[in-house]
Symmetry: C2
Subunit: 240 residues, 2 copies
């Protein structure tokens, strides 16, 4: 018989943490968060948290403010830390040393560090992609080389403890892969079924043949200049 006074054995919980910061693209975070959240509903032992520098409403790139559930200080040690991307505010955040320090500290507490879209630029700026293969939004992917990473044009890229997804919507695919890895194929299929993720883009998949990524370089550089005007050294490192 168990001693009545013995503490209940707590099953270990696998936490996946998503980083929220002002100005991000919510779909980068909400897509994979909803996938891992469904896993947590369906299979015991998983939990999601949303972590920010402060627990307060933060602007995004759509007319929606978002509030995290935890600060970096009070979040449980995560199995995985996922950094979503965005447009100009994310580019500007590459120079936010306070945020980058929090990312480095949180990454040191995690077994897996991941990103969606230009979130990989924040991992790069934090020094977390050196020597790794990684991806990003197609328009900014080549910039990863400036952080010592090898850019790869795939939907998601796994290199040791680092997993990065392509632009915005790619986080859903990456998260389903994580579910497969963490809880197996049947769990991943069930999550996919519950989210009815059976995509039918009305105009079909992206046709990459007419997309001239080079033609977007001036646009991408213009956004870097606008976002990093006060950080000439970083700007030179990225555009020089």
């Amino acid at each position: 018989m168990t001693e009545p006074s013995s503490a209940p054995t707590e099953a270990p919980v696998t936490t996946v943490a998503f980083v929220l910061y002002p100005g991000l693209t919510p779909l980068d975070m909400v897509g994979p968060l909803q996938v891992i959240g469904a896993l947590a509903e369906l299979v015991p032992g998983f939990r999601t948290v949303v972590v920010g520098e402060r627990i307060e409403p933060m602007d995004s790139d759509i007319p929606l403010k978002l509030v995290p559930s935890h600060t970096f200080e009070d979040m449980p040690d995560p199995y995985a830390l996922i950094v979503p991307g965005g447009f100009q505010p994310t580019l500007a955040a590459m120079a936010d040393e306070g945020l980058l320090r929090k990312l480095r500290e949180a990454a040191a507490r995690a077994e897996v560090v991941g990103s969606v879209c230009t979130g990989s630029l924040l991992l790069g700026a934090a020094g977390l992609l050196e020597g790794r293969e990684a991806t990003s939004h197609w328009m900014y992917r080549d910039l990863l080389a400036r952080f010592g990473a090898t850019p790869v044009a795939r939907r998601w890229v796994e290199d040791g403890p680092v997993i990065t997804a392509a632009g915005v919507s790619a986080g859903v695919d990456m998260a389903l892969h994580l579910v497969d890895r963490l809880a197996g194929r049947e769990a991943a299929r069930t999550v996919q079924l519950f989210l009815e993720y059976d995509p039918e883009p009305p105009l079909g998949p992206v046709d990459w043949t007419p997309v001239d990524a080079g033609a977007f370089v001036p646009f991408a550089e213009e956004n870097l200049r606008a976002s990093l005007a006060d950080h000439p050294a970083l700007l030179a490192r990225l555009t020089g």
Copy 2:
């Protein structure tokens, strides 16, 4: 010459409004909102708003609170009003007469009324689906018949001014179709490219052949009973 005192001519703005209410599934809203938001960034004359009963942080089904941009009273007349879905809180909201009245009033100001996932159950409960073909999350789709609609198993269904999408992730496909309709094929392709919506579900598309929707009926009914325990008449209408 223009009179100096003449008012500038304001170009008409097409507003797409997304309804936020406590407990919803954020991806239902954020997916299509991000699509229409990209249209608004790329093409002049479009705008998104997020409308709620109060401008305050609202819980969702993941550890993330969301804050709307407008109340129903102060939102501009929308071209389209889109109602996202969710799980038990959405089922419970079918009995929230205050919210249903706001939905009816807002729908009367819109040219198009739409939904994602179980959001169609709220449209149905508000009396907005009578005589229409419509869809919903596969697990609750047949319930639409109880509101006088004809359930259709498609990714999204358009019937006159009513457009409804299937479960959770289907809102992205529906929204790209709306962009195509509102701004043309090239705009839709550009939005899709910017969101890098080129899905690669790691286990492939949903295989519907082994999915026995009938086996989920007790689970769906159990959730209806839990959500509508205090509303026996509505519960009987939906499960009787």
